[in-house]
């Protein structure tokens, strides 16, 4: 009956419900000053599960996924990632950031480093991988995102879509168990959105645990095991894409969907 039961029933074959969850958020609350941006967030993401988060601007989507790799700190509740509880302890922080990759809306490539250096920096210095090995790995991922020939260019010489694919490759080079995407296609021209979404679909097919903030409904329908709708800091509804999009239960989601459809 409840939304959670629906979700469990529709989990894709890739998602494993038996093991411990990859991400567990338990009654998470966060404030910016007096502004209550996350309210009692409960979210459990199984290993291999693909979750799409949507919601109006300012609803706290970015804040929520940024709490998962502690770019933001929550003030109440528990967040457990890959069996490590997020605390002020620096060692847990290092461990989590090594396991969680993140892709930003504005790419955030390092403009003074070449594409290859962007991809090898963290594996070499955080994973202590030998340089040769890191470069081979980077070339492998750059090939996967279909831009190996740009390896020696600088980010400024690439198109937006290419830069975002590099950003994905850069995150993958750390061999993360979980990938977070914060509106990865919102800063892109329409003709480049597809190439990035294709890359993400390909990644989803490898069984990666993913949380993706996006308003690309086509993408959500294609890959999401579950869609989470947020508004004003709360998770209002969640469920499999078809159910959520075709049969919204709350007024807020109905309004949001009608706005999204009008916008596109």
């Amino acid at each position: 009956m409840s939304a959670t039961m629906d979700t469990a029933a529709h989990l894709s074959s890739a998602a494993r419900t038996d093991g411990p969850p990859a991400i567990l958020m338990d009654k998470v609350n966060k404030w910016y000053g007096a502004l209550h941006v996350l309210r009692d967030i409960n979210l459990s993401v199984a290993q291999g599960e693909r979750v799409v988060v949507c919601g109006p601007s300012g609803s706290g989507k970015s804040t929520m996924i940024r709490c998962i790799n502690r770019l933001e700190q929550h003030q109440e509740g528990r967040i457990v990632v890959d069996n490590i509880e997020l605390t002020d302890d620096l060692r847990s922080l290092d461990a989590i950031r090594r396991e969680v990759g993140m892709v930003f809306q504005s790419f955030n490539l390092f403009p003074h480093l070449t594409i290859l250096e962007n991809c090898t920096l963290a594996p070499i210095w955080v994973r202590r991988m030998p340089k040769k090995e890191a470069e081979a790995l980077a070339m492998e991922y750059l090939t996967r995102v279909k831009i190996p020939e740009q390896a020696n260019k600088y980010p400024g010489q690439l198109s937006g879509g290419q830069q975002q694919r590099v950003a994905i490759a850069r995150a993958l080079c750390m061999k993360p168990k979980i990938m977070l995407f914060d509106e990865p296609t919102s800063a892109l021209d329409p003709e480049m959105i597809k190439e990035v979404l294709d890359t993400m679909v390909m990644l989803a097919d490898t069984g990666m645990t993913m949380i993706c903030v996006t308003h690309e409904m086509g993408f959500a329908r294609q890959v999401a095991d579950r869609v989470v709708f947020m508004d004003r800091g709360e998770i209002v509804e969640s469920g499999v894409p078809e159910q959520l999009f075709n049969d919204p239960k709350t007024e807020r989601l109905k309004t949001f969907l009608s706005q999204i459809l009008r916008g596109h």
Partner: protein, 384 residues
């Protein structure tokens, strides 16, 4: 026939194929066009241009007459007394470069023992060599640090002596260009890293570190360098226990480093602030530690952004070392002033100051040109 077929299958922009790229109108390019547009665009601007050309030519001719045509390059010396009557007879119509010929050793090396002048001379060459090596990006490796340490040690040994059969020369007798180079080199080499730490500290999340850095910058910036130098030379020794005496040059050096670092720190902070927050977040998300993030991502970008104001401060600092004259340290400028105290040479200050100015100019201009090249090279990644 085939032409039309090709045109039908390969649509091309009609204009390009029909007319081809056009050159800009002839009048708009070339020096003549530039001069016409900028210097002779109206009667008024033509008049101003002609008047200025006249003034510049007059001044240049006067300068050539003074500096070269009427100049005296050397004077006879009788019984150790320079005979400057010929120079005085010129009455300002020509330069008396003889004063520079006669006193250049004093300007360059101050009161350093005359027969040992090769030592400071070698030091000056070592400094210049060090600058050249450091300027080449090829040498920007760990080894460069060893080169610096080695060269500076060698310079210390040469200047002080007392070992390897070199006679001991106390610091009070050092002077001239070497002093300027010592103050400037150590000043920049130590103030720059210090300023980076202070700038980082000012953005620290730890309140104590942040407060300390703010206090340091505000205190030092609020005080003129001259008063810092006075404090270093007069007040500081009062606080030292009896019997301990820190070298005057060292005290001045510390004052210069502290002063310059405060200014440089603000320049560096400007660069840090100019970086988008996304760069910090991306580095954090990849799991880089604070120092990895700072060293690989933040500083390389922030410093590139502030090369012009950095070099501006370096150049200012190089010239500010001349302020040590007020606490009686014999840098290049002080040595020059002292050289013309001798009665025979009194009144020939212009020649000395022009020469000293030229030496400062060479170093500062080299810094400026180098920084422009470096800026262009390091920011290549921003050009598409």
């Amino acid at each position: 026939m085939s032409d039309t077929a090709a045109e039908a299958t390969v649509p091309r922009p009609a204009q390009e194929s029909a007319i081809g790229p056009r050159r800009p109108p002839l009048l708009a390019v070339g020096p003549v066009a530039w001069a016409r547009a900028n210097l002779f665009s109206s009667w008024l601007s033509t008049a101003v241009t002609l008047a200025l050309i006249y003034l510049i030519v007059r001044w240049a001719m006067g300068f050539v007459d003074w500096a070269f045509v009427n100049a005296i390059w050397s004077v006879p010396v009788v019984n150790g007394q320079a005979q400057t009557q010929a120079c005085r007879a010129l009455n300002g119509a020509g330069a008396c470069w003889a004063v520079v010929t006669e006193k250049h050793r004093f300007m360059l090396f101050g009161t350093y023992p005359y027969e040992e002048h090769w030592r400071p001379a070698l030091c000056v060459l070592l400094f210049i060599g060090l600058y050249i090596v450091s300027a080449m990006r090829r040498f920007w490796r760990k080894e460069l640090a060893y080169i610096w340490i080695g060269t500076l040690t060698l310079i210390g040994v040469l200047m002080w002596g007392g070992v390897f059969g070199l006679s001991y020369v106390p610091q009070e007798r050092w002077g001239g260009l070497v002093i300027t180079l010592i103050l400037a080199t150590f000043g920049i080499a130590l103030a720059f890293p210090l300023s980076i730490l202070v700038a980082l500290g000012r953005r620290s999340r730890l309140p104590a570190i942040k407060a300390l850095c703010v206090l340091y910058v505000e205190l030092i910036r609020g005080v003129p360098l001259i008063s810092l130098l006075f404090m270093a030379s007069v007040m500081f020794p009062l606080f030292l226990p009896e019997g301990i005496n820190i070298d005057k040059l060292l005290r001045a050096q510390v004052a210069i480093i502290l002063f310059a670092a405060a200014y440089l720190a603000e320049v560096v902070r400007g660069g840090l602030q100019a970086l988008p927050r996304g760069q910090y977040e991306a580095a954090d998300a990849l799991g880089l530690s604070y120092w990895q993030k700072t060293g690989f991502i933040i500083l390389p970008q922030a410093l590139r952004l502030v090369i012009p104001p950095l070099v501006n401060t370096f150049i200012g600092m190089f010239k500010d070392t001349s302020l040590v004259l007020i606490i009686g340290i014999f840098d290049l400028l002080t040595a020059g002033k002292t050289a013309i105290i001798e009665p025979a040479w009194q009144g020939f200050g212009i020649e000395i100051y022009v020469t000293i100015g030229l030496i400062y100019f060479i170093f500062c201009f080299a810094m400026s040109r180098y920084s422009q090249g470096l800026e262009a090279e390091l920011n290549r990644h921003r050009v598409r």
